[in-house]
């Protein structure tokens, strides 16, 4: 039976290297993915994620086991990233970089998928990634935490230090903006169908 994050955190706090290793392994991808969405630089994202893990390790004593570990983890990671961005005044990624990101998006091969289907999936994934990259950073954060990391709205609110209503509004606006961006990129319904959105 897989041990919970809270149990691993408790054991790591007690000095278990194996428990901490398991936590790092479990959260490596979410951490790098989250920081990458904010900085758009893979090397920097990995550095910040490592710094985040170090900060988490240093502050394991302060982790409240009543709270969900992922929420606390992303809060620490976000603080590390925001601190870095403030100090280094890194601008948001340029459109060229974002389009480049969109073209580079890899898609996992799916069993039974034809080359055409895979190409289509890759195309949609690229469009979604590019649209995500064009969102405001605060919208990007909530979208990644909600739809990639599976945090609930109250957990996102706690992680980002925002009112729950604001998180809900951000999610709504982020989806709207992504719909518009996708429509602008040609991802509307086939011609002849009633347009579901203002641009589709």
């Amino acid at each position: 039976m897989e041990r919970s994050d809270a149990e691993l955190a408790r054991d790591a706090r007690a000095g278990s290297e194996a428990a901490y290793r398991e936590l790092v392994t479990r959260y490596a991808t979410p951490a790098v993915n989250f920081t990458y969405r904010l900085v758009h630089d893979r090397a920097l994202a990995e550095d910040l994620a490592q710094e985040g893990f170090l900060r988490v390790y240093q502050r394991l004593e302060t982790f409240d086991s009543e709270r969900r570990f992922s929420s606390w983890f992303f809060q620490v990671l976000r603080n590390v990233t925001i601190d870095y961005l403030r100090v280094h005044r890194i601008p948001t990624a340029s459109l060229d970089e974002l389009e480049e990101d969109g073209r580079r998006v890899p898609v996992a091969d799916q069993e039974g998928a034809s080359p055409e289907e895979l190409a289509g999936q890759r195309e949609l994934a690229s469009a979604m990634t590019a649209a995500l990259s064009r969102l405001r950073p605060e919208y990007r954060e909530v979208v990644v935490l909600r739809y990639q990391e599976g945090l609930t709205q109250p957990e996102i609110a706690q992680t980002l230090g925002l009112p729950a209503g604001t998180v809900k509004t951000y999610l709504h606006r982020a989806r709207k903006e992504m719909a518009e961006l996708l429509a602008a990129g040609g991802w509307g319904p086939p011609s002849g169908e009633p347009a579901p959105g203002k641009t589709l």
Partner: protein, 180 residues
Amino acid sequence: MFRNVNSDPNGERDMTRRELDAWLLAEDGGDEEAADAAFSQVFSAVPKVEPSPMFVEQALNASWAWRARRRRRLALSWSAAAVLAVVAAASLVLASAVFTRTVVQVVAFVSGHMVPWLVAYASVAVHGWLTLGHVGAVVAGTLVTPGRVAALVGVELVGILAFYALWRVAGAERLGDVQV
């Protein structure tokens, strides 16, 4: 299969395309829960950014290095505290002997020089007090005789009577003014 409708407007629509449309329709219709669920399906197409293969080891190494530094610092701190405690205790022992001797010397010196002065001042004060007492006794012996005491009592009685008479006279005059 799904596709960009601008590039292939007449192709057949696959499940992901339907999910995309379901999301857009729910979004447009203001159905928050449906939009949330449909978008979640569509967003699963976006791959996560994977870390490099060495990432986990590097992150762990950074943490272990910090832990080792912390342990070294702690050990150094404890060592320094222990050394400080020993030095302080030794200093206290050595200093206490010197301190005690110094205190005794100072007390002996001060008391040796102060006591004669204190005795002298006390003697002068006692002598003065006795002189005053003697003078008082002489004055009292001279003044206090039976005849003088009787005369003094008589004078006091005469004074009291005079004061009483004056009070009665003043009262009678006040009564007379009221009657007028």
